[in-house]
């Protein structure tokens, strides 16, 4: 994980050897140490299992798993940016409108003007960045609360979308553009009825997880940090590996590896590292935790806030491309209420309303909980009105659970 030399003169090998037999097996201690995080994963597993039973296994079928990925990828992309915005103590209400605007710009260039598909993609990303810089300017340098700035942006960019599209829908996109959201990478390594390439990617992912996990473990032991026992570590890797390989198997048996899943996977990896390990990411947490203290610690608050919104704009642009590709066109009403889904994903995933707390992976789990629920209820033919109410309750419960945990942690000190 890092290239730092161990603090003591001990040889690397002995630490590696120690990694095989030290650590605690007290599962309760491990869970309570990380209750905020583990709670969300437990909830996720329960919800997946619940809908698997309620739909008689249909929700876990290869085709449906693929569908969930295709259907909700753009919400997950937005949730990555949104959780960073929320950790810093802001909010972004405009992302739905920005998704519509970036998709519309792309459609006008590619469908209207007949330009190549990749120019449309680049234009959408550039517009996303510009919108983000606009929001960042008002929030960071003028000092207007993000709620107001992005509420204005929501109206502003929706209006701009209508103007750009002249109030009509544009479609269809050329085949290459459609491939972004509905294409699959498969057949690269052959396979009989299933796609070997998908399985290989899954296996590489699991191997990476195991190796990285072991190196983190060795480093933690070197620095005298608590770790789980080796059998538990192996159990964790096997469990995660099994889930990932099952998921890959389902995809491989359907249509192979969706292109958007690769995009999403890369984004989650990159932003996971950025939030945890980069100076920028750490300053985001510092600003959200205590703005005044961060300022007096030399954090360039304005610059950090500015780039947070630029980043949100970029991710909105990516989501705009994926959504326009998936819907094979641009509509004036595209992306309506996406901001609320993204915000809900971040909060269900453990982000705190007051800022300073949250993780990208948590937001992904939060987004997937919403996705699996919506999808499951659709499969069951549950009425739209009920679906909306259930989602509302889940959001409320998630934040209540979070508050309850915080109070309990406070009482235990």
């Amino acid at each position: 994980m890092t290239r730092t030399a161990p603090p003591s003169g001990r040889a690397e090998e002995s630490t590696t050897a120690a990694a095989l037999h030290v650590g605690t097996s007290d599962i309760r201690a491990l869970i309570t140490r990380n209750l905020r995080q583990s709670g969300i994963y437990v909830a996720f597993v329960v919800i997946v299992a619940l809908f698997a039973i309620l739909t008689g296994g249909v929700s876990l079928s290869p085709v449906n798993v693929t569908n969930i990925v295709l259907q909700y990828s753009y919400i997950l992309v937005l949730a990555i940016g949104m959780v960073i915005v929320i950790i810093a103590g802001h909010i972004d209400l405009s992302v739905g409108s920005v998704v519509a605007l970036t998709g519309a710009i792309s459609a006008v260039l590619v469908i209207g003007q007949g330009l190549p598909w990749w120019l449309g993609v680049l234009a959408a990303l550039a517009v996303g960045l510009a919108v983000g810089a606009w929001h960042g300017f008002w929030v960071a340098y003028v000092g207007i609360p993000a709620f107001i700035v992005t509420l204005a942006g929501m109206l502003l960019f929706r209006g701009l979308t209508l103007r750009v599209l002249d109030n009509i829908s544009l479609s269809p996109f050329p085949a290459e553009y459609q491939q972004i959201a509905s294409g699959f990478l498969n057949g690269l390594f052959g396979g009989d009825g299933y796609d070997v390439f998908t399985l290989v990617i899954g296996a590489v992912g699991v191997a990476g997880y195991a190796v990285n996990g072991f190196r983190t473990r060795v480093a933690r032991i070197t620095y005298h940090q608590p770790v789980e026992s080796f059998p538990l570590f192996v159990a964790r890797v096997v469990l995660v590996g099994a889930v990932v390989m099952y998921f890959a198997w389902q995809l491989a048996n359907a249509r192979g590896l969706p292109v958007v899943l690769i995009v999403l996977g890369v984004l989650v990896l990159v932003y996971g590292v950025v939030t945890r390990r980069s100076v920028f990411g750490r300053q985001v947490y510092a600003i959200g935790g205590n703005l005044a203290a961060a300022t007096l610690s030399g954090v360039k608050v304005r610059a950090v806030n500015f780039w947070i919104f630029v980043n949100m704009g970029l991710l909105s642009g990516i989501a705009g491309v994926i959504y326009s590709s998936r819907s094979n066109g641009a509509q004036p009403a595209a992306g309506n209420m996406f901001e609320l889904d993204a915000i809900a994903a971040a909060f269900i995933g453990g982000a705190a309303v007051t800022g300073g707390v949250g993780t990208v992976v948590g937001a992904m789990a939060g987004g997937l909980i919403m996705a699996v629920m919506s999808n499951g209820m659709q499969l069951m033919g549950v009425d739209q009105s009920v679906q909306s109410m259930v989602k509302g309750f889940v959001l409320l419960l998630a934040v209540t659970f979070d508050l309850y945990n915080k109070r309990r942690a406070g009482a235990a000190r």
């Binding site: 994980m1 890092t2 730092t4 603090p7 480093a219 933690r220 070197t222 620095y223 005298h224 940090q225 945890r276 390990r277 980069s278 100076v279 920028f280 750490r282 300053q283 947490y285 510092a286 935790g289 205590n290 005044a292 203290a293 961060a294 300022t295 007096l296 610690s297 030399g298 954090v299 360039k300 705190a352 300073g356 707390v357 942690a409 009482a411 235990a412 000190r413």
Partner: protein, 516 residues
């Protein structure tokens, strides 16, 4: 007191209160006589606040063992309303006033004066508020928003609010912690007047001088046990005895001894002038001073003299407008226009309000320690998390931060340990000069001593330290040299050998041009 009655208004017997894993109070006894001012002393975490929370019903009956007898009858409070009903009112350290509401509205909040149709009778509300304000000696219009008052006056509003509830036992948790000397004196006078009217007070305080001057009796608590209750009229009831009881040992002195060996000049400020951040006035006016390596220099000044404004404006212009003047670090002219530039140039500033400006309370020790020097732990923008833990562990060890691990959340630590985290953060930036603004505010005697030891270690290592403090004995105890600041101007500079509290106070209150 002429007649020492043994008429007790409050008896708490064998109070034991446990939290998961901790016994906060263990068989504590407290007896308060009718009409006295009773001080409760103890280090942070000794259990004073918990005891008061048991008394006021914050911890309801049944969650603790023991018996409370109020005015001759055993009482069992289910909540704070019950205790207020019998006339026990607690005023917390963090005032519970709503800034945008008027004084009168705050006084009767939750206890509104109603007229016809259950609607609020504003005439009666304001008239009664006016009477209460006169009683506490606060000359303000009852319709003034509380947010426009200073902390001292807000404290008086809290007491007026207590009086509106027909208080019989008034509990004050560190009432003077945030007050300057004048406001403190005013408050203590008020307590004496209330005593004459028959209102009993319990006062929790760290300021031993105040306790000796105002309290009739003092109960000392240590580690959840009652140590002793002493009658302050007796000749041997001294500050030293209280301290011995609080820390369980004799402190040789409040201030650790140190060899004074100043080296070359590290910080020099010339003709430094700062305008107020929002108002049209000058808060720091042509200040020049210097601090040498291995030297502790103090700044003495009353509240509003511009002490914090001076330090923060030097620290990357984090306060004020229209800043002019010259700044030198190790003889080199320095432009520190942002906090980041100040840190780069070897300046560190530890704030007077660590909770609001110093710490990210929801994050752990590790990340608070690294907050200001994160770049030192990073290569090309990526933080080395393991190295960060190592740095934090080292701080925890060398500064003796009492916490289970560096992953402990800072908000759960005591004031003294939080202050050590703040110091760790600045030490990690490896500064040449540290500006310490009220470094021991709100922390107990034992932790204060440890902070002084840390300061001594820093100057022994060749750092320059500038200390701002409201407590003159502290400045006299730890500094080599003291500047006095009055209305934004330096009015004097004294080597500690020539300084006395009286001389400093005279310079601090001097209004016109400096006399050297």
């Amino acid at each position: 007191m002429p007649d020492v009655s043994v008429d007790r208004i409050l008896e708490m017997h064998g109070i034991t209160k446990t939290f998961p894993g901790v016994t906060a109070l263990d068989d504590v006894n407290l007896e308060v006589r009718r009409g006295e001012i009773h001080a409760v002393c103890g280090e942070n975490g000794a259990g004073k606040s918990t005891l008061m929370q048991v008394l006021s019903g914050v911890h309801p009956a049944g969650t603790y063992d023991g018996e409370i007898v109020f005015d001759g009858t055993p009482v069992r409070f289910a909540g704070i309303r019950d205790s207020e009903h019998v006339g026990i009112v607690i005023i917390h350290q963090e005032l519970a006033l709503v800034p945008h509401l008027s004084i009168a509205e705050n006084i009767f909040l939750g206890n509104e004066r109603r007229g016809r149709g259950r609607l609020i009778d504003w005439n009666r509300t304001n008239a009664e508020a006016g009477r209460l304000l006169a009683e506490v000696g606060l000359d303000e219009n009852p319709v003034t928003p509380v947010g426009q008052l200073g902390v001292g006056k807000q404290q008086l509003v809290e007491i007026a609010k207590a009086l509106s509830k027909d208080v019989r036992l008034l509990i004050l948790d560190e009432p003077t912690a945030a007050l300057n000397d004048t406001d403190s004196e005013h408050l203590l006078d008020l307590l004496r007047r209330l005593k004459d009217r028959g209102i009993t007070s319990i006062m929790i305080s760290h300021k031993l001088g105040e306790i000796v001057s105002v309290a009739d009796r003092t109960t000392v608590i240590r580690d959840g046990h009652t140590v002793e209750t002493m009658d302050m009229g007796e000749p041997d009831a001294t500050q030293e005895r209280i301290i011995r009881g609080m820390v369980g040992r004799d402190l040789d002195s409040f201030y650790p001894w140190r060899v004074s060996a100043p080296g070359e000049e590290v910080l020099r400020i010339e003709d430094w002038t700062v305008r107020h951040a929002t108002q049209d006035r000058t808060v720091v006016d042509g200040v020049s001073l210097n601090v040498r390596a291995g030297e502790v220099v103090g700044i003495a000044g009353l509240m509003g003299a511009g002490r914090t404004e001076l330090a923060m404006s030097v620290f990357g212009r984090s306060y004020g407008r229209g800043i002019s003047g010259r700044l030198f670090v190790r003889g080199r002219p320095v432009r520190a226009r942002t906090v980041a530039e100040a840190i780069e140039n070897g300046i560190a500033y530890a704030t007077e309000d660590r909770k609001r400006y110093g710490l990210n309370l929801i994050d752990d020790i590790r990340r608070n320690v690294s907050a200001a020097g994160l770049r030192k732990l990073a290569r090309r923008g990526w933080v080395n998390g393991n190295e960060e833990i190592k740095v934090a562990e080292e701080s925890r060890r060398t500064l003796a931060i009492k916490a289970p691990s560096v992953m402990s959340v800072v908000g759960t630590l005591s004031g003294g340990n939080q202050q050590k985290v703040v110091l760790s953060k600045w030490l990690f930036t490896d500064p040449d000069v540290l500006l310490l603004d009220e470094p021991t505010r709100g922390i107990d005697v034992g932790a204060k001593y440890e902070i002084y030891l840390i300061v001594n270690r820093l100057v022994a290592a060749g750092k320059a330290v500038l200390v701002i403090s409201s407590e003159l004995p502290e400045l006299l105890g730890i500094c080599d040299r003291i500047y006095t600041l009055s209305a934004g101007r330096i009015t004097g500079e004294l080597p500690v050998a020539e300084a006395t509290q009286e001389r400093l106070m005279a310079l601090m209150t001097q209004e016109k041009e400096p006399v050297r």
